[in-house]
């Protein structure tokens, strides 16, 4: 990985594509969890790779490549969501050669609509985001702090307060 990051830093596009491609499912899931459809998730991924390519010389520690680029991806998603909140987009479409495969993925995803997502929708947005990033996307606290532009301590308290609320919601629903 270090060698590829070094190559990418020297401007080698192929090396950068290879780096991202090796973790493409993780990148895609992260983008999908914000954008909610394949088309927009892929647009975000495309915008991310351009940003990463243009700013990779600012990355000092090569081992942080993946968490750094995921931060950029989430920023791209948030920027896009802000932009499109003016326009209500209701449908998404697939790219033709692979459409059948894609829709299969979306079936898997949709058919098992998660109990946890229903609960997460009931707590505050920053708390839910932090919990998703930690538990679903395996990001460490420092990366989440970078993504959310807040100190690590704030991330910690968002997660613990969020979890506490989830527990009370879950318990409360069971009894009520």
């Amino acid at each position: 990985m270090h060698r590829l990051v070094k190559k990418a830093k020297r401007g080698n596009k192929r090396a950068l594509v290879k780096l991202i491609n090796e973790e493409r499912d993780a990148f895609y899931r992260l983008a999908f969890s914000y954008m909610k459809n394949e088309q927009d998730a892929m647009d975000a991924l495309e915008n991310m790779i351009v940003q990463v390519y243009q700013h990779i010389d600012q990355l000092r520690q090569e081992e942080l490549f993946y968490s750094w680029s995921k931060t950029i991806l989430v920023n791209e998603c948030k920027r896009e969501l802000k932009k499109s909140s003016r326009e209500i987009l209701v449908e998404s479409f697939d790219t033709p050669p692979f459409k059948h495969m894609h829709s299969k993925n979306e079936i898997d995803h949709a058919d098992q609509q998660m109990e946890i997502e229903r609960l997460l929708s009931k707590i505050s947005r920053p708390q839910a985001d932090a919990i998703r990033l930690k538990y679903f996307h395996d990001l460490d606290l420092a990366t989440i702090a970078d993504i959310e532009h807040v100190p690590v301590g704030t991330v910690k308290s968002r997660i613990s307060t969020g979890l506490k609320k989830l527990r009370s919601l879950e318990g409360g629903e069971k009894h009520g």
């Binding site: 895609y28 899931r29 459809n37 449908e91 692979f98 898997d108």
Partner: protein
């Protein structure tokens, strides 16, 4: 583990099942190719100072137009267009014949280069020294990266290759940008992925002769605009070379990406005959979306050249209320577009409505009205079906649950709209 931890664990498992689309690598590569290759700052400075000197001498250089050379580039008909095969037949381009042996007895031959302002193709052959069958992963043995030379640092944009029936010889064409006319030597860098997963980088240097590049037939400013439903397409210019014709321009269209390949309904005609489309690309820059459409070369005899926008992405505001039926399927018409309601079902989480429309129809601002009005959550299970009416798109819209369901509201519809507008490029 408490209940919440268990739910989080389940949630993660479901997320983990999601896979990135198979064309992810292709899309990322294509996107990166739209932006210039990053260069070392120090080198840029050197470049700037040398360019100033060189400008003076530029005017002295002349390309001999379509000169004939004894040797020919042969054997690449499978990987090039008929037009380029004809040019090679006429002996155009620069034959090379540089060979490079590497790894496990692989031999790479750079056979030739055909270059002009619109595109540069480098032809190569990959085979084993002893003529034996190539390994299954032969395409991982040769992954071309870039072409470097005097003031030249061009990324390989795409590769078309073909393996013979015996699986002993691969012939291919790499597409890149035109090298600097002062370059005398070019160096191709390629990566090899070895079978134990390691990576080797190789370099092959071969001579380049700018005199054998093809001259541009002509350039023309178009600068004409076409109004579409949600914006304007501006056709800016045309560059015609013996190998291809490139039309460039920009699009300021709000719903550009709401149909696939919005430019597929744009054609270039020479004396009324449509030219084959070779590629179309859009990129997002500071000045909005720019596009580049590459067509086959213009016939030499062409007198009248026109661009025709037969169709492009369109939008129609509807604000149409549709009463929900009791029986299915039920058909409705949305401004001339058929909408088939296949079913409405209530699942544990959602109200699911299955609909079918033409392939290129996309609904916007859809809500369901019952006791209250609910907005669409997401679209799932999209499939395509070929019917006598063309390709139909089937999908399921999910809405939050609402009681006493009555009607559906549709704000508008994106679709591939006929415009049939014509621009005269050359008369």
């Amino acid at each position: 583990m408490d209940k919440i931890e268990q739910l989080l664990e389940e949630g993660k498992e479901i997320y983990q099942k999601q896979k990135a689309p198979r064309d992810t690598e292709f899309r990322l590569t294509r996107k990166l190719n739209e932006i210039p290759t990053r260069k070392n700052r120090k080198r840029m400075f050197q470049l700037a100072s040398v360019i100033a000197v060189l400008f003076l001498s530029f005017v002295l250089i002349q390309y001999p137009a379509l000169a004939y050379f004894g040797k020919k580039i042969v054997g690449f008909d499978e990987v090039v267009t008929n037009t380029i095969a004809d040019l090679q037949d006429q002996g155009l381009g620069q034959p090379i014949g540089e060979t490079y042996t590497f790894s496990d007895g692989y031999v790479l031959t750079i056979n030739g280069i055909l270059s002009d302002e619109n595109q540069t193709q480098i032809y190569y052959t990959l085979e084993k020294e002893d003529g034996s069958k190539l390994d299954n992963e032969w395409y991982e043995v040769f992954m071309p990266q870039d072409i470097k030379g005097f003031f030249t640092n061009n990324y390989i944009k795409s590769v078309v290759s073909d393996i013979n029936a015996d699986e002993t010889v691969v012939k291919g064409a790499m597409v890149t940008e035109q090298p600097n006319p002062f370059a005398k030597k070019l160096t191709l860098t390629f990566d090899e992925e070895t079978f134990n997963g390691n990576w080797n980088s190789h370099e092959v240097t071969f001579p380049y002769d700018a005199n054998k590049a093809l001259a541009t037939s002509f350039k023309s400013n178009i600068n004409k605009e076409i109004e579409v439903s949600r914006g304007t397409i501006t056709f800016e210019g045309m560059i015609a070379t013996p190998s291809s014709t490139v039309i460039s321009g920009s699009a300021d269209v709000r719903n550009l990406s709401r149909v696939e390949n919005p430019f597929q309904g744009v054609h270039l005609l020479a004396d009324g005959e449509k030219l084959d489309i070779l590629s179309m690309g859009t990129s997002t820059g500071i000045f909005g979306q720019s596009f580049e459409l590459k067509f086959d070369a213009l016939p030499e005899s062409a007198e009248n050249i026109t661009l025709s926008v037969e169709s492009f992405v369109g939008y129609k505001e509807l604000n149409q209320q549709v009463a929900l039926p009791n029986r299915f399927p039920e058909e409705f018409t949305l401004d001339g577009h058929q909408l088939k309601l296949l079913s409405i079902e209530e699942t544990e989480e959602y109200i699911e409505m299955r609909i079918q429309t033409e392939e290129d129809v996309l609904l916007e601002d859809v809500t369901l009205k019952g006791k209250e009005e609910v907005e669409l959550v997401t679209t799932v299970r999209q499939t395509y079906e070929e019917t006598s009416d063309g390709i139909m798109k089937d999908r399921t819209l999910q809405f939050p649950k609402v009681s006493s369901l009555e009607s559906m509201h549709i704000g508008g519809v994106h679709y591939r709209k006929s415009y049939n507008k014509v621009i005269e490029v050359l008369k």
